[in-house]
């Protein structure tokens, strides 16, 4: 058995596979079910300060090639977040699978407020979602698309955490839908981010039902994900790793197998998020991919999986 454990900003994961934000992940019991199925840790669905309605249905459509989603980040607000997070932390068991709390807001100021609220709940890592392509009609271009905006949000979050959780590592989730992702990554790290999550969904894209001549998603457009996006994610992770070799990365984008995850780690990821993979292989994908990583390491005489991180230069 190879050692699959990794360390992300001082937090230990038994394996690098984490549930990506937005898939499942609404309740403590659902996070525990993901852990039971082999995940090294979980990321919550994006948490808002107040209740936020998602979009009407359909919100997710998928086929063998891709998934398109515009769920619209529904959430009941901080009271529910507190209930579910505290329940998970209490019941997660001796192996302590880490909880990454993902937060979202519509303004720089609100990012600070929600960060403070969630910081008090003692998650292991805070992930800042500044890159959702599905709430553009409400809030305009995502903060992750302009370096200055991305940095302002990061600073506000770090400032808010100083009071309540100064040691809580902050990772900022970047958008692939930008001209120069490395420039945004640098701005966010200069502003105090401890880690980066690369990447959110691509697009948005659109799918039309030709008989009714209507876009299928009620939101008309939605974020694109799935296996064919993995090369994009690998390239972004690689470029950021080359520019910022000290910054740990949560890689997400099209990972279905253990081999996919290993590829992403070689490009520079420490943790690997799986989201759309749940669609292609079921919630069992975490255990399956972990076993595949172990088999690959054994066959290739790799004792410590973490030794592969960033090995492709």
């Amino acid at each position: 058995m190879a050692d699959l454990s990794v360390n992300f900003c001082g937090v230990t994961f038994k394996n690098p596979l984490v549930l990506a934000s937005g898939i499942l992940g609404i309740t403590a019991s659902s996070w525990r079910n993901v852990v039971r199925n082999g995940a090294g840790g979980i990321t919550t669905k994006s948490l808002w300060l107040n209740e936020h309605q998602g979009h009407p249905n359909p919100v997710i459509i998928a086929n063998d090639h891709y998934m398109l989603n515009a769920v619209g980040v529904p959430d009941a607000g901080v009271k529910k977040a507190e209930e579910e997070i505290s329940l998970f932390l209490k019941k997660r068991g001796a192996s302590k699978p880490p909880l990454i709390a993902n937060i979202i807001a519509g303004s720089v100021r609100d990012y600070g407020v929600i960060a403070e609220e969630i910081g008090r709940m003692k998650p292991d890592i805070l992930e800042v979602n500044i890159s959702c392509p599905n709430v553009e009609s409400e809030f305009g271009t995502p903060f992750a698309c302009v370096a200055g905006d991305a940095a302002r949000v990061t600073k506000e979050v770090k400032k808010a955490l100083k009071k309540v959780a100064p040691k809580l590592p902050v990772t900022v989730k970047l958008s692939p839908n930008v001209e120069n992702i490395v420039e945004i990554a640098k701005a966010v790290v200069d502003a105090g981010a401890d880690g980066l999550t690369v990447m959110n969904t691509v697009g948005p894209g659109m799918a039309i039902n030709i008989e009714s001549r209507t876009p299928i998603l009620a939101n008309r457009v939605g974020g694109l994900s799935g296996p064919s996006l993995k090369p994009l994610a690998v390239k972004f992770i690689y470029s950021i790793r080359q520019a910022l070799p000290e910054i740990p990365i949560i890689g997400t984008g099209g990972v279905l197998t253990g081999e996919d995850a290993i590829e992403m780690m070689m490009a520079g990821a420490t943790l690997v998020g799986i989201g759309t993979g749940v669609y292609y292989r079921g919630v069992e994908v975490f255990g399956l991919a972990a076993a595949e990583m172990n088999a690959w390491c054994t066959a290739n005489k790799v004792k410590k999986l973490s030794s592969l991180i960033g090995t492709v230069k």
């Binding site: 898939i23 499942l24 992940g25 609404i26 309740t27 403590a28 019991s29 659902s30 996070w31 525990r32 079910n33 993901v34 039971r36 669905k45 209740e51 936020h52 309605q53 998602g54 009407p56 249905n57 359909p58 919100v59 997710i60 459509i61 998928a62 086929n63 063998d64 998934m67 769920v71 529904p74 959430d75 009941a76 529910k80 799918a207 039902n209 008989e211 009714s212 209507t214 299928i216 009620a218 759309t276 749940v278 669609y279 292609y280 079921g282 919630v283």
Partner: protein, 266 residues
């Protein structure tokens, strides 16, 4: 694995009651009893609906025009096109020649009527306990009594048809008389199904229960329909679940969650 809406035309439309309309779609979906489809009205919304019948060539859904979406759906005409995704979810199962109690509440009658018509082909014998507020709300009351080897036992809250009271009480009377059932199937309001679950457990009877939660995607990804404490998605692991699973769902009969994940007590 395609989870895009498939465009289908309405083949026929039959009014069951002043509120309820049955639509037939000319498409071989090959759905099994207990499964559901997501019905899409382009540009409006999409809702999960249980399959009321499927003979391998065409299938039907029965829709009560009670909300904005179902009212719009009710206005659709023969020849109009809708989008359909699915069929999704687990199915009711039985063994040949079983004595089955079916407890249908309200619109839960549709999938159980479908299950009954199939189970009869395997030589099963059925007691169909059909509960509703009043006689007018006994949907499919004209169809169910025509099934062979089936005792139709309606129960109404106001006593306007059949047993005066709940269908679970009518079923309890049969159990007290010593009627031995091999299997119970139930679909309807959760408070009713909770009693069925408890009673079946006490009597040691196998039970299959249709657990319904607010669903969005239908294929186990969005997570809106997960149940406490198991954390499983009801769209994939349900809606039809064995009682052993249902008894591990702590929220069953107690609360459910809305579209933003907030709990609501029953």
């Amino acid at each position: 694995m395609n989870n895009f809406p498939l465009s289908v035309r309405i083949k026929s439309k039959v009014k069951e009651t002043p509120l309820v309309t049955t639509f037939t779609f000319d498409y071989p979906h090959r759905a099994e009893p207990g499964q559901f489809i997501n019905v899409w009205l382009p540009g409006v919304n999409e809702r999960p609906m249980s399959i009321a019948f499927d003979d391998g060539k065409a299938y039907t859904i029965s829709v009560a025009a009670v909300g904005e979406f179902t009212k719009l759906l009710g206005k659709k005409k023969v020849g109009d096109m809708l989008g359909i995704r699915g069929p999704y979810g687990q199915v009711f199962t039985w063994k040949p020649k079983q004595r089955i109690a079916m407890l249908a509440g309200g619109y839960g009658v549709a999938p159980l009527y479908f299950a009954a018509s199939r189970a009869l082909k395997d030589g099963c014998k059925i007691d169909f306990f059909h509960g509703a507020r009043s006689k007018d709300h006994l949907l499919f009351a004209q169809h169910v009594p025509k099934l062979k080897n089936t005792r139709y036992l309606p129960a109404t809250d106001d006593g306007s048809a059949g047993f005066h009271g709940y269908n679970v009480q009518a079923w309890q009377e049969e159990l007290s008389k010593g009627v031995a059932y091999d299997l119970v199937m139930t679909c309807g309001p959760e408070v009713m199904m909770k009693v069925v679950s408890d009673r079946a457990f006490e009597y040691g009877i196998d039970a299959q229960i249709s657990v319904e939660r607010y669903m969005k995607c239908g294929f186990g990804v969005c997570g809106n329909c997960t149940v406490d404490d198991l954390g499983i998605t009801t769209c994939q692991k349900g809606t039809v679940m064995p009682n052993e699973t249902v008894r591990k769902i702590k929220e069953f009969g107690k609360y459910h969650r809305d579209a933003v994940g907030r709990k609501h007590l029953y």
